[in-house]
Subunit: 519 residues, 2 copies
Amino acid sequence: MKARAAACSLLLALAAAAQRDGAEAARQWRERNETGILAEFFEFLRLPNVLADRQDVRRNAEWLRAQLERREVRASLLEAGQAAPAVFGELASPGSTVTVVFYAHYDGQPAEAAQWTGQGPWEPTLRDRPPGQDARRLPFPAPDGRYDPEWRIWARSAADDKAPIMAMLAALDGLAARGLKPAVHLKFVFEGEEEAGSVHLGEILAAHREKLAGDFWVICDGPVHQSRVPQVVFGARGVVGFNITVYGPGRELHSGHYGNWSPNPALMLSHLIASMRDERGRVTIEGFYDAMEPLGQQERRALEALAAVETGLSRQLGIAAPYGNGASLSALVNEPVLNVRGLQSAAVGAESRNVVPAEATASFDIRMVRGDTPARMMGLVRQHLARLGYFVTSREPTPQERLAHARIARLWGGDAGYRAVRTPMDSRAARMVVQAVEAAAGAPVLRVPTSGGSVPLAIIEDALGAPTIGVPIVNHDNNQHAPDENLRLQNLWDGIEVMAALFRMREPETAAPPGARRR
Amino acid sequence: MKARAAACSLLLALAAAAQRDGAEAARQWRERNETGILAEFFEFLRLPNVLADRQDVRRNAEWLRAQLERREVRASLLEAGQAAPAVFGELASPGSTVTVVFYAHYDGQPAEAAQWTGQGPWEPTLRDRPPGQDARRLPFPAPDGRYDPEWRIWARSAADDKAPIMAMLAALDGLAARGLKPAVHLKFVFEGEEEAGSVHLGEILAAHREKLAGDFWVICDGPVHQSRVPQVVFGARGVVGFNITVYGPGRELHSGHYGNWSPNPALMLSHLIASMRDERGRVTIEGFYDAMEPLGQQERRALEALAAVETGLSRQLGIAAPYGNGASLSALVNEPVLNVRGLQSAAVGAESRNVVPAEATASFDIRMVRGDTPARMMGLVRQHLARLGYFVTSREPTPQERLAHARIARLWGGDAGYRAVRTPMDSRAARMVVQAVEAAAGAPVLRVPTSGGSVPLAIIEDALGAPTIGVPIVNHDNNQHAPDENLRLQNLWDGIEVMAALFRMREPETAAPPGARRR
């Protein structure tokens, strides 16, 4: 057994060396080509990518197909019904028996230009700092061709989620420049509807099942840990979003003449929201926490190994009293949550009018952990509304309905949502990915049982039966989903090396326990 | 005494006859000139009149001055500091010892064109119906020159408050066409900042005190009773408006990564609002109802004489369960109220993003009855916030303040506000006005102790010591302050007659009890 263990160690060391070679090749190539990489990235970021405009989204897909083909990746668009196309790419590694599918998404969250500092969301700029710190705009390309790795690229999707795609493209260039080939069969899937809840992803996967066959998926989305240590993520929360509109008078009324008498929907909505979650952030919808699966020992241990980041974050974000009774952020995301993501009724500030509003709307997202499903959670919301005496409808109430019910809630605009997924930390795929990322980082990585964010892992699991593992690369303070989204350059540089190492990933079959089944 | 009483009756009858002559002259003139009156009104309504654009407001003032001068009213603009000008007019009635000041305002509430049906707020149109009833747009001028009195003019300020101004202009034309003169000295004051809380009115009145001297003011603003019976209003509520912004993280955060941990300002605001007013509409701010002066017997009797309108209104507005425990609308407006007039945090619906919002704002107006003051009410709001543990500030919190306080409320954008006023129902001014309006209507009018709406009567009372009496003319279902504001033609026609009768108002001095002092 000793000889065997020694042989194992040698093989593992060789595998790690190959992956380090890949990362090293990518680094050297990047150091010589920073302006070129950024120029290509800026071109990508200049393409608006909100699903509401289908032509915009398709322009992104076509651009991506061209970039893949330029790198000798066989590329095509995966279409299905009304879906925005997913971009598919394939690069074989003759001799390998493993196929790894790399997932990222090229669509972005909506953005209001007026809320961005100094430039629109699709006008990428180079800045010397993150937002909120008097960042200066810098010329691009840099006159001396040198880029401080702390500089940031500000643009919608600079972080979420065009950065990993750019890192993959640059990693392919880096390997090619050194004459290195991928060590596994590579497939790429770049989705175009993630920010809208991936409503057609299942359909796309089902329609192209054979093309998409693979041993496991590497999911490249979301930020690295706040401590900036590289990490591998073994699961992601599920999500479902929806809006609730409640109704007052059939039309806005003068608040002087009618304010004492007419039901006020903004007041009604406030009471409704207050009934759903208490002032300490605990969700008070009956049954909300009842289905969550507890974490296993390995996962609890991994959580404990994560550095505490809460004090620094609180200071950075101006938060005096976080929710959660002192629990760590990483632990808290292993529970579900109901988040109020927006409020709207009539107008405030300079635009406010002295009216009883006709309606008031709140927008919510529910994050789920393993054990929960969108259907169960939406059922609990409906039950909660009904318990409060609300008549629940999916459309504008009719005049008859208004007269029949003192409280009407319209539940609408919900994306279909998906459940959470967690992949075992000791699986073969897990070991391959951890080894590659550690090779690129040159140090142990953090192992995160569940990301707080959501990626449609369940859809992949359901459609293809493939396990998924997350490898995020972007900075945590990226203003994801918000104005002034940004990417820290060092995160892009590191990401390129991580992708190159992953492309050179080796099967650790010899390290598997005797008798372990290959699958 | 009998002879004296008979003489009185004769004189009163003569006075009433003179007022009926005025109304009759106005009616006949109007019937021959409907297209012309409406054309002039449309010209007026086409002038945008939101205070935010000072040039717009001044164009309205200049237009009004020209219209008054065309009718031989000596007109000028009353300026004071930064105030939008008030338009002043004067028309002497040689031989009269009474001066009556007619007040209306020419500015309008802000309006969002996108929320209006089929046309912008400053593109007046003629429609066959009120909003919400599939109203058709009609050509103007009418091809046959005939106008159904149920038709409506849709435009911002068509009702609030350009209609009474138009009625006054047409009434002057009607009297002149018949060769009739006003029976009292007439003064006109058309304010330009009423919708912004009349913040400079006191300054304007003080700066032009002598010019504005008069026995009493007739306030032409607000709607007639829902039963459409003409009414005279002896008071108006006070009002004060303000915004409260509460704070979450220093920037919007991804709701997946931070939703369980970061304080959510939309949730915080909901709890705050819910703590201020209960689900039955009762305000729960401590001391809110403590200062209101009870109504007198005469006022309570006048209230009882008002027809019940609640059932019809409920049906029309789709309200299944009004606030107020079954009390009448007219009775309820004799109490103060806190109204939520708007909510805003991040975004809802198609624009919603999966974020923890950085802040959330609610806009409020408080309506006050006699006994309350804006300062007292705002003090109660501050106390309430402090009791809930809020740090109250008037500006954006600093990073240090954010870290020092778990709850921060910014109280801002408040208009100065003013208190309520009530004029005794048995005063000389009251009798003169009631007599004139009854002469125009040919029937008894409703006497309303207090309008639910607010007009800056306190400012007039404080600056000039003059009593005020309200004579509203517009339809109650006018969408005042809201999209699709509109005026019913018959209300404009009746209003012209009311104004003509008021211009021919006589002093009922002989009917005053012996020994009554004249003032």
